[in-house]
Symmetry: C2
Subunit: 116 residues, 2 copies
């Protein structure tokens, strides 16, 4: 068993984390987790992750703040308590509303754990 | 992309969910998720999941409330913002303090998605 608090995890171990975004790796292969990795993202008001696509899926849960998830089908608003599933190879980004910061959990397959 | 809110997901689709515990499957194979499943657990004050072991891991994030995670190494307190990694075959349970309900996310490999 490995327990750690958000406040004790240093953000942004990787260079490709965009401006206005923090990523904390909460559970990864370094904790012994073999199959998937859990990260917490903090997005400043009005900031967002890049509109991009990759071969791995995202499983997201919104903890704080409101914003929109953008895909090729348009924008969909999100709020705390929403789960968002992004399929492999689906173009996507998460954008915080200008009014308040957004925090969400994002789980990905382990071998891609250092990726957005 | 599949988005759904906690409040729109019916709890306890399975018979083995214990008294005082609700499980909501937020993202599963039914949403197209191929590799892991995200669930939200609500545990009433003083209630808990059974002390048990299984071959799949848990990746947990505490959303609300305080309690303790019990393993063969004893009890460890948890609070909102804690992540908890339970390794495959590690005996464990999550117990809510008597004072307030606990809510946490628990991610498991997809083929075991209907399990605690």
């Amino acid at each position: 068993m490995v327990i750690k608090h958000y406040a004790d995890v240093k953000p942004n171990a990787y260079a490709d984390v965009p401006e206005g975004v923090e990523m904390r790796e909460m559970i990864t292969e370094r904790d012994g987790a073999p199959r998937f990795a859990m990260r917490v993202f903090d997005v400043k008001p009005g900031a967002g992750t890049p509109l991009h696509t990759h071969e791995w899926e995202h499983e997201v849960y919104i903890l704080k703040g409101t914003g929109k998830v953008r895909t090729e089908n348009g924008d969909t608003p999100f709020a705390p308590g929403d789960s968002v599933y992004i399929a492999p190879n689906e173009k996507h980004c998460f954008i915080a509303d200008p009014t308040a910061p957004v925090q969400f959990i994002c789980v990905i397959p382990a071998k891609n754990q250092c990726r957005l």
